[in-house]
């Protein structure tokens, strides 16, 4: 039988993030009065080394057998606090998180009193649930030491090579006939003026002769099953299905250029996009002397409110190439804010000005007008309208998410943002991971990036993906279903419902009874909410635990 719960409550101020909006001392006081709470205290930052040590000390000093931290969000910090409990000898599943920052102090910033009441309720609910928590054994699974990299652009190729160089087997899947991605279409890469084709040919050469890499072109991922460390993947290639198993998956499907159909008289001939200009430069077809480049076409507007990061530098680079080839060319660049961040790009901007390229700042309220061989634009600096005759207009359009991103997101069960770019686990701290373990992202699939940055992320994702593979074993959460053999009548409903075939009817001496296949069960609980006999318990998310929260919330009201 379980011993009496001795609960310690730690309320985090998170600097002013919580402390500035909730009455933290009141929360601590309140917690002290709750049943089974033997100690409660506040921390300026519970996640700091000092805070964690205080938890450990309290576990020992007060012989705590339950720990509650009321702070930011379990999505980022639960593993840390669980680990702290573990280090102090407490089963990590006897830890309970109460979210009073992301879902309380930050969303009720002007209502201290009510928000504090809410936090009290949440802590009371957490205490009620904590009382009923049970220790769980973590589940260890073997990791297949091979990776699937989806997308053979510069990021994906870099990632695949880095993993292969470390001795992991890599399958690189590319939708097109050839590897290379966006770089296939580009001309010169800025700063060093390397040929884009040179770069990719070199990479492709390395990949082709690498014994650890298998390349599948004209292929797409159609199905991914299994779990962290053991993903069963199906690739569709030329009307046949190729199945295989990998431990980790990296998404590197890149992005595409937005086509400004119906904007600024875009016709693909005299009024072209930057990408089309690249192709013209490649074939040396740019003959125009007066050229007007317009930035932020289809970007930073109602439809796509974002800045696509690379267009300013791309435009500058192309302008420089043109003016080098044809020093008499007169180039105007109409921009809103020039995004030449960092050392190299700002330097490019400076050189462009020295070269005589003319920069005209326009405001979105007064966009340029392309009209019969003339671009009219209101110059924000001069405060007057300019009329610029042109032979060629180049529109800088943003990168937009690859059209496959939505479909792939569904297959991999990872999120995308409103624009279709993949959404990482944490904007600051986990830029290359998904919340789903074992799946990573790099390159423009995540957000428009330059080639340099794609390479950085390709290596970065390789590093992240190599961690479970080098460890060979990973622990997965023991949040799984559990069948009570006494009440199960073997009706088979759970088996029918489970999308992972993780619960199956077995013939036993006691008759037909459902059994959970622990390694396959992902713990969704859909079977548990259905079982006619209520014979299924969801570990760590038991009916009683959830009901206890509801009762605790409403009891005194």
């Amino acid at each position: 039988m379980m011993e009496e719960a001795k609960i310690g409550v730690f309320v985090c101020r998170c600097g002013t993030n919580i402390g500035g909006y909730l009455d933290v001392p009141a929360l601590v006081n309140y917690s002290k009065g709750l049943p089974n709470v033997v100690c409660a205290q506040e921390n300026l930052y519970t996640c700091s080394e000092a805070g964690l040590n205080e938890i450990k000390e309290a576990i020992i000093d007060h012989q705590l057998n339950r720990v509650i931290v009321a702070s930011c969000t379990p999505r980022t910090h639960e593993p840390l606090f669980r680990n702290t409990c573990k280090e102090a000898g407490l089963n990590p599943y006897l830890f309970e998180f109460v979210n009073i920052r992301d879902q309380c102090s930050w969303v009720h910033m002007h209502e201290t009193e009510k928000a504090t009441e809410k936090a009290k309720d949440l802590i009371r609910m957490g205490v009620a649930r904590a009382k009923l928590l049970e220790p769980q054994e973590e589940i260890e699974v073997d990791v297949v030491p091979s990776a699937l990299v989806i997308g053979g652009g510069i990021a994906g190729m870099t990632c695949a090579l880095s993993l292969a160089d470390r001795g992991f087997e890599v399958t690189l899947v590319e939708r097109e006939e050839k590897l290379g991605g966006m770089l296939r279409k580009l001309y010169k890469l800025y700063s060093a003026q390397t040929d884009a084709s040179q770069l990719i040919e070199a990479k492709i050469g390395e990949i082709e002769k690498h014994r650890n890499i298998e390349v599948l072109t004209s292929a797409t991922v159609t199905e991914v099953k299994g779990f962290y460390g053991n993903y069963d993947v199906t690739i569709r290639q030329e009307r046949k299905n190729v199945p295989f198993r990998v431990g980790v998956i990296v998404v590197a499907i890149g992005a595409e250029e937005f086509k400004p159909v119906g904007m600024y008289g875009y016709d693909g001939i005299q009024i072209v996009t930057q990408l089309e200009l690249e192709e013209m430069l490649k074939e040396d077809r740019v003959k125009a002397h007066s050229i007007v480049m317009i930035q932020c076409v289809g970007a930073r507007d109602e439809k796509r409110s974002y800045c696509a990061k690379v267009c300013c530098t791309t435009a500058l680079n192309n302008a420089m190439i043109i003016s080098e080839r044809n020093p008499k060319a007169q180039i105007f660049m109409l921009y809103r804010d020039l995004q030449t961040y960092g050392t190299i790009y700002e330097d490019l901007y400076k050189k462009a000005r020295e070269k005589g390229i003319i920069f005209v700042k326009y405001s979105p309220q007064n966009p340029p007008i392309v009209d019969k061989g003339m671009v009219k634009v209101f110059d924000e600096f001069l405060g007057e309208e300019l009329r610029l005759p042109y032979e060629l207009v180049v529109l800088s359009t943003p990168m937009v998410a690859h059209p496959d991103s939505g479909e792939l997101a569904k297959i991999l069960k990872v999120p995308i943002d409103e624009y279709g770019f993949f959404l990482e686990a944490h904007v600051k701290l986990r830029p290359l991971d998904f919340a789903t373990d074992g799946v990573y992202v790099c390159g423009s699939a995540h957000w428009p990036v330059t080639v340099d940055e794609s390479i950085v992320q390709g290596y970065g994702a390789a590093s992240r993906a190599s961690i479970p593979m080098s460890r060979r074993r990973v622990v997965s959460e023991p949040i799984v279903s559990f069948v009570d053999e006494e009440s199960c009548i073997g009706c088979g409903l759970c088996e029918m419902i489970c999308p992972f075939k993780a619960i199956q009817i077995e013939e036993t001496p006691k008759g037909k009874i459902a059994q959970t296949i622990v390694a396959s069960c992902k713990g969704c609980g859909t079977c548990g909410a259905a079982c006619p006999q209520k014979a299924i318990t969801m570990r760590h998310f038991k009916d009683e635990q959830m009901l206890a929260e509801i009762v605790a919330l409403m009891e005194r009201k």
């Binding site: 999120p415 949040i479 919330l553």
Partner: protein, 262 residues
Amino acid sequence: MSDQESFEPHILGFLCNWCSYAGADLAGVSRFQYPTNLRVIRVMCSGRVDPALVLDALIWGIDGIVILGCHPGDCHYLTGNYYTERRMRTLQTVLDMIGVKPERLIVDWVSASEGERFANLIGDFTEKIVELGPLTDDLPPEELRTRLLAARDALSQQRMRWLVNREKELLEKGDVFGEQVDEAEFHEVKFEALAREYEKNRILHSISDQVLSVQEIAKTTAIPPREVLKNLIAMEQKGLVTVSRIDGVNPKYRRLGGGESL
């Protein structure tokens, strides 16, 4: 009936870990403000939420419940949210049937990138519940409680759970003979069965802590006496109720197995 000015509804949210809970966190990270009424229970998947538990929450006096999952097709566990949707739609009809405003329960989808949408959704829902007033505006407290208890017991019953949870399979893939089941027909059968089961439990609850005659039961439950009698006879055979005493010509019934409440 209610004092709308000061009414602070109790709102409970069940949020799935992967999308909607992340969306709620994002609302925080982006500082989108919303009313303080919401209390959240995190579940791994919206499919974890048992309709019986939602009824429990109402029994305990929650005024509005919001169940949020991943958008269709995005459920981290593939199909959890499809079950959620069907179960909760059924539950809404049951609520309607027993006289609780079905708008008190909503099911919606919020992705991890929809922080603003989450805040707006909670704002709107809270407003809606304030408009509807406290749960006890729907029915007098005692009646409300008995009805909710009966509904919960009906939805905990083996056959009903079977029916509710087979719905997706039956309607999408057809029955054992591979025949497509007609959706409208299925719902009709389902609700008929639920109504019967509810009736049965409603009668049971009416004689949980008192002894009543058929007429009296009919009066408190508003179920026609003939139906009451039919139910009682069936339940007597199953040993669920018994005749406690006879008042003149009227047998008075009582529930067997104790007046279970919560």
